[in-house]
Amino acid sequence: MFLQHLADGILSGAIVSLGAIGLSFTMKMLRFANFSHSELLTWGAYAALVFLSFFSTFGGFFDQTIGPFSFGLPLLFAMACACITTSLIAMFLHLYVFDRLSRSAGHMTMVFASFGVALVLRHLVTLIWGSDPIYYSNELQFAILLPGGVRVMPDQVFLFGLTIFTVIFLHLFMTRTRTGIAMRGVAESPSLAQVSGVNVNAIILWVWIIGASGAAMGGVLYGMTIQLRPELGFSLILPLFAAAILGGAGSLYGAVLGGLIVGLSENLSVMIIPTTYKPAVPFLLILLILFIRPEGIFGERKR
């Protein structure tokens, strides 16, 4: 039983990690808590649904599922298109809401604005797609039996593999490319980056693109392994913030580790507390980390 909860925790933590990466970056670089970030997961999931319908019309080779998974190439293409769509939404929000506000308003105004944006985004999803749960696929899947009696769905294995691939890709991007290094520089000191010749506005757009793409992937993986519903992102607000705060704002590895800790804590907690209290676990984690180490596991300690 413990091993099963452990596996479930790692898998749900992987989704939280993908969503928390972008939230963590925007918290550090844009210096505000963006409560609308979780809605990007919802938009990513639903955008993929639209593209999935489109790619599925091609039929033939496109209609076949890949190996033991419940999906075929259309969902992979749809996921890529969802990343682009969600990035465009995020850039639109940055250019027409957050960037404009940041010139004249304080951080609290930005936070409240993000609440408003979150409401608009969530209700738009309900307006367009309705409030009933939707599934990408109606294919039946058989669980794989792993050592220790742990059962996982093939799609969950894909989810975990894709998360690892994304984290390695982002690690290489942040450490080996000039744009990635500039992102880390801007996170530390935007003014020093500016006088060094870095176009900070362009780098901030990259932050939104990476954050929104991670959110879209998280949303699609959530929809793939659970279901699509308009409250998908809303239900992940606390886990996302817990992961970002736990790991330390601006830290890629922190967001990943934070996501895994949140996922594991939520799933292991049901062994000792009633399942109905499970959503409170991320909240307790936020309180705990703020008391013990406010800057997070990988965050810089303020002197």
Binding site: R184, G185, E188, L192, A193, Q194, G197
Partner: protein, 252 residues
Amino acid sequence: MSSAAGYILQVKDLVAGYIRDLPILHGVSVYVDRGEIVTIIGPNGAGKSTLIKAVAGLVSVSQGSIELNGKNIVNVPAYQRATQGVGYVPQTGNVFTTLSIHENLIMGGASLHRGKAERRIEELYEIYPVLKSRRREKAGVLSGGQRQILAVARALLTQPDLILLDEPTAGLSPKAAAELFALIRDLSRDGVAVLIVEQNAKAALRNSDRGYVLAEGENRIDGAAHTLLADKEIGEIFLGMRRDTPLEKEEA
């Protein structure tokens, strides 16, 4: 290239500040020629750092002009000024402490093509071998003097015509400060125009060609560095020194 008047930098009647309608500089004018070292001195709150930040593009200008090689750059964003020939070393937070030394230099060459940036970094490693031997280390572990060398090297990546140094010797040991001034003189010999804001007025003026005294956001006195050093009035009125001691003789 110097402008027609021969100046790399010419600031004319500059009115600037951090908040609109609340200027700190009230019509300041300075110029720096190619290969010249010019020091700005003055009491706290005189607007010295504001002037240098305005030239770097970090402070908004409401009136006046900042000409770099004869071209007004007042409306040029800070990141483009770096590509147009302005190198800036701030007083605090002058390196990216969470990045490695090599990554700091990559940041300095962000506006250059990759190949040129890599060549420049190798050239700077030859000039400052201490950076090469520690290239993989985080800049946050460097000593104050080494950080200043890295900060200057980062600012030199783009081969600027003008380098702005804000309190470069603050917090440095006398030995490290002397090494830094030697480095600044080398830059000047290579034709780089240097504008320094410095609390350590004596040391800075001893290593400078000319100096300006600012007070309350306005020009007060300017002239050859050795003339300012010998002037008792400057020491007394603007730097709070004893009346009977010229700036040149007052020891730290």
